[in-house]
Amino acid sequence: MSTSTVTQKPELEYLDTVGFVADQGGRGFHLPVDMAIRSDGRIYVASRSHYQSVNIIGIQIVSIKHEFFGQVGSHGSGDGQMISPSALAIDNNDRLYLADDVLQRITVYDKTNTYTNKWGTAGSADGEIDGPSGLVFDSDNNLLIVDHKNHRVQRFTTDGYFLGKFGSLGMRDGQFDHPWGITVDAENYIYVADWRNDRIQKFTNDGYFVSKFGRSGNGPGEFNRPSNVAVDSEGFIYVTDWGNQRVQMMAPNGTFILELRGQATLSPWATEYLESNADEAMARSTYVPVYDTGSDDPNEISARIEPYFWDPVTVVLDNKDRLHVLETGRHRFQIYSKFDG
């Protein structure tokens, strides 16, 4: 448990946006699906892209200062390659773990971003996986994998030896329906984004059900297909409410505190692009980014309003508890910081 001063009336302040659409390769991301932050602050972003634009499929390395360090891996099924990257995690030795939900395997890269290992067997038996969609390390440096088409969480050693599992398909406490993201808090509790049950479930480190919060809907504390969850050092919980195109902040007991809709600004990469394309910059100078769409479809609203989150897929915290909200639809992440309101 953190010994820092507990925030009383938390609010979130927008800080910055990192990203750029790299649909033809180069600096930026393309349809990113997950990210992880290394102990030295390097940020790894997995770009899923799609089958007609495979050059950008890989893991891009960036920093919060908009530095771009290149890409790990490429499209393919060979060692170190990927077809459909789905999740990332970094162990306590700064090794990077990538899940691929088509190849049904975990790929490991060392601190120099060099491929070192791969493991995983497709199936539904103990130790087999079908659609790995969330990764996180527990305090013992074992890897928890959300095995989403088997509707369960499995635990492995870093070398891929099966240690245990919990969960099954269903709506009851401790059951899942196509779960997606996962996190572990400072007290070793496990949180799972129970995607198609529209809730977050909390478990002990051994996988015993503790509590749940959320239900289907678009009101405060309600979810429409929550994709991921993070818990900060004070126990505040952040959920990417993917279908509602927002991020919700919850108290440690799961009660609603506030929501974010997104307020992205131009990253330096975006600004440099516009500086090099004067016709677009000129047209953009009269552009009104936020307006009343009259639509009640959050996905369509996000498609029209560029600063808003579009498919916020994961929320990751750095060592200063700053939120990094990754958006698949806009190829970027927005950064927010908590403060006392």
Partner: protein, 484 residues
């Protein structure tokens, strides 16, 4: 006598379902036959609910289907819907309007506005025509396709005005050049939000910096010419909505729409540019449909009800005379085979197959759309059709294919299926196909190179099922199977 009447009835309903749906087979067809022709027409016309498409799973597994920028992905999404819909006539009408109000993602670059336009057709395509035409005139994809963002109060661009009269409602010969200019004045200021930036992103074909934005309709009042206009003999301070109302009450409009409906559902007409100079194939049918338009206050469903219950639609002369469009063929096969999975790429492949066959959905070749008819068939596209059908029947584990094979096996008498029985059963099972003697004899000759099929042992069943699948592939490659 009863058997003959029953066969005729089944054949008629199969005809209806080839035209108003994507075909029906096996138990599905039997259900419709059981409820009768009129009830089937009612069901098709009244089934106007919304499909329960698992968008969450689609968007999770195919992440680009959220943004829908990519054209193949957007096509795949529509194909998935058409192949799984419970409301096939609604999708057929969506295809119909896509062909009449042809708009292309090839120019728009971003496919999402096209998907939104298709959604609009789905929502309004079977209602009143004036309502549909107003939605069309406010549709961002259409506005950008025909440059109405460049249609200004002090400098008109008549592109949309010309096409709404020529291709979307009345046809050449029913208005003057002055009407076009007055019409354009009424649509000045009808644009999208942020037109300058949206236009340049489209023209530069760039998703940078953060992807495309979806477009939203907007009326720029400052850029709208609110002056007096004279249009089709009426005078007033008309805006776009007024223009649509005037268009919809012209005599030419229902005849134009009726001819399109006849062309799509009954029998091929000459290409639209020839309509002013060529009489309709069946002028009485056009007048009957036009009358229903006027009597129902422009209701498209009322026109469809008259069409499907008419003698000219039911006539033997029009059955198996229309060449299936690539979309009709591909969707019909996908629906017949069943077992389409959300996470698969089969819909993407099917979208490409449609394109190879000559119908690139969401990207018609011009504002005149696809002419269809004989143009669907050439050596290359016919080979694509045969290959696609062959591939579908190769997978005998698919539930629909399995069901067809089981029905054909059930035709065996005393456990034996002769070559003639095999051919007849395959033709009947694939939609009561009226094969020519030449086709039937060709299929029979092929069947007779094999012995009778029997189902005595596991080995014999496996072998016989393979031969049934082969015969189904052959039937699907016949000329008759290309016809609806």
């Amino acid at each position: 006598m009863t058997t003959l009447a029953s066969k005729q009835n089944t054949s008629l309903i199969a005809h209806l379902l080839r035209r108003a749906s994507f075909g029906a087979y096996g138990e599905d067809l039997e259900r419709y036959v059981c409820q009768g022709y009129e009830a089937t027409v009612d069901e098709l016309l009244n089934s106007l609910g919304n499909d329960n498409i698992p968008y969450d799973l689609i968007r999770r597994y195919h992440v680009e289907q959220s943004t829908l920028r990519n054209q193949t992905s957007a096509r795949a999404l529509w194909i998935y819907r058409m192949a799984t819909t419970r409301y096939p006539l609604k999708e057929k009408m969506t295809l119909f309007w896509h062909r009449v109000f042809a708009t292309s993602a090839a120019k728009l670059i971003n496919a999402r506005p096209m998907v939104n336009q298709i959604d609009m057709f789905r929502e309004h395509g079977m209602g009143r025509f004036n309502n549909l035409l107003i939605h069309l005139s406010k549709n961002p994809a259409m506005l950008m396709w025909l440059d109405n963002q460049d249609n200004h109060k002090n400098a008109i661009n008549e592109n949309y005005a010309r096409e709404i009269l020529e291709l979307f409602s009345m046809g050449v010969g029913n208005y003057t050049e002055t009407d076009i200019k007055e019409c354009a004045r009424a649509f000045t200021g009808w644009t999208v939000v942020n037109p300058a930036y949206m236009s340049i992103k489209m023209r530069n074909n760039t998703a940078r910096p953060y992807g495309y934005m979806s477009w939203q309709f907007n009326i720029d009042e400052k850029d709208h010419d609110d002056g007096v206009k004279t249009f089709l003999g009426e005078t007033g301070n008309f805006n776009g909505e007024d223009i649509v109302e005037i268009i919809c009450k012209q005599d030419a409009t229902p005849r134009f729409i009726a001819r399109h409906l006849y062309h799509f559902f009954v029998a091929d007409e000459v290409p639209v540019p020839q309509w002013p100079y060529t009489k309709p194939r069946n002028p009485d049918a056009i007048e009957e449909l036009a009358r229903s338009y006027r009597d129902s206050s422009y209701d498209i469903s009322a026109m469809l009800r008259v069409l499907f219950n008419s003698d000219f639609f039911k006539s033997d002369e029009v059955r198996f005379t229309r060449i299936k469009s690539p979309a009709e063929l591909v969707i019909g096969m996908l629906r017949m085979a069943g077992g389409l999975k959300v996470a698969s790429y089969e819909t993407y492949e099917s979208a490409d197959v449609c394109s190879f066959m000559g119908q690139e959905l969401l990207s018609p070749p011009s504002v005149e759309g696809w002419q269809g008819g004989d143009e669907w068939i050439n050596t290359g596209t016919y080979a694509e059709r045969v290959n696609f059908a062959s591939k579908m029947f190769d997978d005998t584990d698919r539930p629909g294919i399995r069901s067809l094979i089981d029905r054909i096996k059930a035709a065996a008498i005393s456990g034996v299926l002769t070559p003639r029985q095999l051919v007849d059963a395959c033709l009947e099972t694939l939609g009561h196909i009226a094969a020519s003697d030449n086709t039937r004899n060709g299929l029979l000759a092929r069947a007779e190179t094999e012995t009778d099929l029997n189902f005595d042992t596991e080995e014999a069943i496996t072998e016989s099922e393979k031969k049934i699948a082969t015969m189904l592939q052959l039937v699907a490659s016949t000329q008759e199977f290309q016809l609806a």
